[in-house]
Symmetry: C2
Subunit: 433 residues, 2 copies
């Protein structure tokens, strides 16, 4: 395998995986390194957090996906530093020399400098996040059922979702379905439909990136699901047992044990390390400003793609953190590397926007395909079709289809397990024993 | 609901759930309390530990199972004490008065007084155990792939299973299949088939409870799968990085990072609490000695069933810790409670042994049905049929069938995810960084 150009790809998300696959016929040696052993289909993560799907349904082992691609090896390890002088990637267990490097390390959620909020308001980026949120949502109903105090029950049955982007909207809709349908007849004392589901958004509309009339439709759909949508509202504090918000100058405290954080994005800390090493600039979210060919300042062989990249050459705004952006960027860099090997020039990267969509609760969605807008059941069908087709492995596609079909007819959610539960999780609200 | 007899059931395993269901038409108020929110189909837990099935495939929410049973409520809570004078069950969040109490709190694994071995040799009793073991097995191959040291690779690829009962045999067979089939073409540097899989057993045969010729067949099947079966061998020490064994007077140290504990059973600590409160006697494993009607010494309304009970009236030996024993005992107590309400006498409990079976790797098993013995593929088919029929929910039955069918043809295991991984999990073996 020696003598050939070595391409190292950091991260096996949509961008990194697309780059690796697009290099399958190139005369290069590819190493894909990720601290996970699987590729995660993030758009369906909220369905794991709400007990609809199992983690394995949306996570495919990277080795399995790349098994037949002989020019690619996969390493599970965490990258700790990048030495741009010596062209080395340092990880906890290995050191990898590279000729070309593609950094696709993604992003996590941002608490806008208030990381102390995280324990009380977990975000939704990983399998562990999803099972943690699933545990909290389901446990809240259990704790309410075993309480005798009306006020305590009300607090347990209050769910706050911060941020009304696609993830926040999807979570709010799914929690509403759990309360009004899935758990409807499961309890003897409480009525799960008494749940208060509050979606908090600082901007004027939910799904603010969509055209206003779609955003208005989204709000109406959410309200029909009995989600309280509070726009123009800012979170000022989160702690164990409450969220404090401010709206039109008035402050308010909402008592709750279950807060889901779906606001703000912070790029991987690898961005900062790259900036220190190369002098490239970062935006406010920690994303790396990339050149027209997705390389970074003065390092033509070092590319940054996906959620970690800020590409604002197209219309002044950075491209959104969506799977299609990352995938097109991965494919672009793979082609550029091959073009260079052949001595060919490459055109600048150009993102082809094929549309975007978000689900709102049960069998309702909004979708934007080119200039055409869809909403309601029709948008949901488009969403189902596109997501099913994109799931990485055929087996998972079948399993997801079966589980969606089942839920469609029974409104059941089989994966509503409380795992990794510690008795201390529920202590705060209890009288001393 | 007042005025009716209150039956409290502690534990939603096979015994507790069977008791609750058998009381569905009785004029009593049933409360089932469990610290989990689901019933776990333990016989398939090893398939979660080896990436074949997802946790949700073998865990069904108790509320879902008992939704339609109007005389039964479910509480998720951990029982902390039982007050036999006042007839109260104390849990972390509630206190429950009872007229009849059925304790079905089960068992965990026992380290024979060496609980310090547990971190290095986790057992297999819960979903969390299973995902922990799955993580360790899969991570071992990842760590081997990223190592450059032949000796370190050999240690990572050594897997030790302690105890050759059904769980130990099933684990050894499944790890062999992972090494020889599932991961066959997944790595570029290591050959997963180089794995050493060592099954350690203190007795003369694996599956010692079976007739000797079946045990001999089981050993041959295991050896065909390249599992090293070391009988007459005792574990004398387990720590991070090794297992020490003794065999025929000779001591030996086996270097490994992956040890699975499948030996020994320790009854729930509730047994000891019952003994302190009632003076009932415990056996060496901490199980409660029960009377002919499964009640305990002088407490005709307090029953102990399943793995927590020692019932040795039938042939002098305690009944084995199997699902059918627990289920029959649960049904027996439910009937006894109803008989008493009607003023009828009950016959003593009698266990009807319908057979037992264990899987040995790929499409091979041993089964004992009455006096008839089966082995190989035929026994495996019986095993598949019986287990599929016993899985609690129809949806899960379909999902499991589909995944088994898929694996049958592709030898793939979709759920091979490493979750809840911390970088420190792999540190011990690494050179300092």
């Amino acid at each position: 395998m020696s003598g050939r150009q070595r391409v190292v790809i950091v991260g096996g998300g949509f961008g990194g995986l697309a780059a690796a696959r697009a290099l399958r016929r190139a005369p290069v040696d590819v190493t894909l390194i990720d601290r996970r052993n699987y590729h995660l289909f993030q758009p369906l993560l909220y369905q794991v957090a709400t007990g609809e799907l199992s983690p394995a349904n949306i996570a495919s082992p990277l080795r399995g996906i790349l098994r037949r691609q002989k020019n690619c090896r996969v390493l599970m390890d965490e990258v700790t530093a990048i030495d741009v002088q010596e062209k080395l990637v340092h990880a906890a267990g290995v050191t990898l020399p590279y000729d070309s490097l593609i950094v696709a390390a993604g992003a996590r959620h941002s608490y806008f400098g208030r990381d102390d909020w995280e324990p009380s308001a977990p975000g939704l980026k990983s399998i562990e996040d999803a099972t943690e949120i699933r545990k909290r949502i389901l446990f809240a109903f259990e704790a309410a059922e075993r309480s005798d105090d009306a006020e305590a029950i009300k607090v347990w049955l209050t769910f706050v979702i911060v941020g009304a982007g696609p993830t926040g909207v999807e979570m709010a809709g799914a929690i509403s379905e759990i309360a009004h349908h899935t758990l409807k007849r499961d309890f003897r004392k409480i009525n799960p439909s008494d749940a208060h589901i509050i979606l908090i958004e600082a901007a004027a509309h939910p799904l603010g990136v969509y055209p206003e009339d779609l955003a208005v439709k989204a709000r109406k759909s959410l309200e029909r699901l009995q989600v309280v949508v509070r726009t123009h509202t800012k979170v000022t504090n989160v702690a164990d047992g409450f969220v404090e918000v401010e709206s039109g100058g008035a402050a308010e405290r909402i008592a709750t044990h279950t807060v889901v954080w779906a606001a703000g994005v912070a790029a991987s800390p690898l961005g900062r390390k790259l900036a220190e090493a190369t002098g490239c600039s970062l935006d406010r979210a920690g994303r790396v400003q990339v050149a027209l060919d997705l390389s970074i300042a003065g390092r033509p062989n070092l590319f940054v793609i996906g959620d970690l990249a800020n590409f604002s050459h197209q219309d002044g705004k950075p491209l959104p953190g969506l799977a299609p952006v990352a995938m097109q960027q991965g494919q672009y860099v793979a082609k550029l590397i091959q073009d260079r090997l052949k001595g060919r020039e490459s055109k600048p990267f150009h993102y082809k926007d094929r549309g975007s969509m978000a689900v709102i609760g049960r069998y309702s969605a909004v979708a934007l395909v080119g200039k055409r807008q869809f909403s309601g059941f029709r948008a949901w069908l488009i969403w189902v079709f596109i997501h099913l087709m994109q799931i990485t492995q055929f087996r998972n596609r079948l399993l997801v289809l079966m589980q969606w079909g089942w839920s469609f007819f029974t409104r059941d959610r089989a994966a509503r397990l409380i795992t990794h539960y510690r008795e201390s999780d529920g202590h705060d609200d209890r009288p001393s024993q």
